[in-house]
């Protein structure tokens, strides 16, 4: 059960929140929507001495806005807002697509991208997209702001690499254009189900040749990662059946799946390749169709 007398501090401004985080450090746990945190507290797997509720900071930390070269996605933007944001659909479509897979409509209305990222699940639905769009995370604390590439944010499964006095403020995603993309996800059911494996991809096509492929996978390694060996192979390759088959074999060798409640490691390894094939074949199909337009 959620302890009825759990101390909850609810700062009204960002400065107040940063002061409190500075003061309490690891003795305070951030909560926004709380759709992960409250479940873990109820189960007893998290027992924080107090919660720092930052939901009042939506004005400062909840914006999704366009800047000259990037889009700014506030940590307190809800998953629903991300799913339906025209800016994100244009410049980071794997993110709006990934958001659509998370939980259920009720959970998406309340959960935030900051929460999903900072929970640092190896299967996080918003995390894999941030990798392929090469996002940066902006981290703030009293008196300091720093910015790191998204892959530096994860120390291990469920372990976010920020200091106890810091808060993730927002994500910066470069405004890129003319790329092809896919997001393939495998789960027991279509909603309310963690993914067994998912593969996200962003790449450019120069005629039939692949340029700058970016692939990331989730739930098949301790943290979300880019499939760098597969990317190296696909660079400058023609997108055809043999190259797709070969890429699938390579990505299967790159992953480190485990067996758990949802799946065996053999199945996950095999399905990573299948999802990559599915994603790339759909791109190949679209490419063929575009030639007839």
């Amino acid at each position: 059960m959620i302890p009825i007398d759990l101390e909850i501090l609810s700062p009204r401004t960002l400065n107040e929140a940063l002061e409190l985080k500075e003061q309490y450090r690891s003795d305070s746990l951030l909560i926004a929507g709380g759709t992960d945190v409250l479940v873990q507290i109820r189960k007893g797997s998290l027992q924080p001495p107090r919660l720092l509720n930052i939901l009042n900071l939506r004005r400062e930390l909840g914006a999704i806005k366009e800047e000259p070269d990037e889009i700014h996605v506030g940590a307190l933007a809800t998953i629903s807002e991300i799913e339906s944001s025209p800016l994100i659909q244009t410049y980071a479509p794997t993110l709006s697509c990934g958001a659509a897979f998370l939980g259920s409509p009720q959970i998406r209305n309340w959960a935030t991208i900051g929460g999903n990222v900072c929970n640092a699940s190896p299967a996080g639905d918003t995390i894999t997209p941030l990798f392929v769009h090469e996002a940066e995370a902006v981290i703030i604390s009293k008196g300091r702001t720093r910015s790191i590439p998204i892959h530096e944010l994860f120390a291990g499964p469920l372990e976010i690499a920020i200091d106890p006095h810091e808060i993730v403020s927002h994500f910066q995603i470069p405004k890129e254009t003319q790329f092809k993309w896919f997001l393939q996800r495998l789960s027991q059911r279509k909603a309310l189900a963690l993914n067994k494996v998912s593969v996200a991809g962003v790449l450019w096509l120069d005629g039939p040749k692949v340029r700058e492929p970016r692939l990331a996978f989730s739930a098949v390694s301790p943290v979300v990662r880019r499939a760098s060996k597969t990317e190296n192979f696909l660079q400058d390759q023609e997108l055809n059946r043999p190259s797709i088959e070969k890429a699938a074999k390579i990505i299967c060798s790159e992953v480190e799946p485990i067996t758990d409640l949802r799946s065996t490691k053999e199945y996950r390894r095999s399905m990573t390749g299948q999802l990559l094939k599915k994603g790339l074949r759909e791109l190949q199909q679209k490419m063929k169709e575009e030639q007839f337009v």
Partner: protein
């Protein structure tokens, strides 16, 4: 809360679900799983659906809440009763509230949009078919 102003004092960690059922005696909202996986506790918070088992008092100062007791949901309830989309009735308040929002979002939802929109509301009795058909009926009658 359903159009009336309430002033309540309670512990910040108290769930909205418990405040509704215990403090306000609005027992139409049910507890199913307690962890946001079944949708039985769905209410409207500032106009959008949430699982009230995952909302705590600290988060809702000044918020507007609508529960199944609100008469705005009566038309959908009537159609669901008529069409056999209710058996034990436990999931029904959540289904009705989510359907209400779905029909605001899409005036003529396709079956796929209906299924996706209701993905957060589980039912153990009906097998969902008659529920989805009921929503199709509502959009048909809205057109007349």
């Amino acid at each position: 809360m359903n159009g009336r102003k309430y002033e309540l004092e309670t512990q910040p960690a108290r769930r909205l679900l418990d405040i509704l059922r215990e403090d306000l005696h609005l027992t139409g909202t049910k507890e199913g799983c307690g962890e946001g996986e079944c949708g039985v506790c769905t209410v409207l918070l500032d106009g959008f659906t949430v699982n009230s088992c995952l909302v705590i008092a600290a988060q809702i100062s000044g918020a507007t809440v609508e529960t199944i007791e609100n008469p705005i949901f009566d038309p959908i309830r009537a159609v669901l009763i008529e069409s056999g989309g209710i058996q034990c009735g436990f999931c029904t308040p959540g289904i009705i509230i989510t359907s209400h929002v779905l029909l605001q979002q899409y005036s003529q939802p396709t079956m796929q949009q209906i299924r996706r929109g209701l993905a957060g509301n589980l039912c153990r009795c009906t097998g969902y078919t008659k529920i989805f058909q009921a929503i199709e009926l509502i959009q048909d009658s809205n057109q007349k």
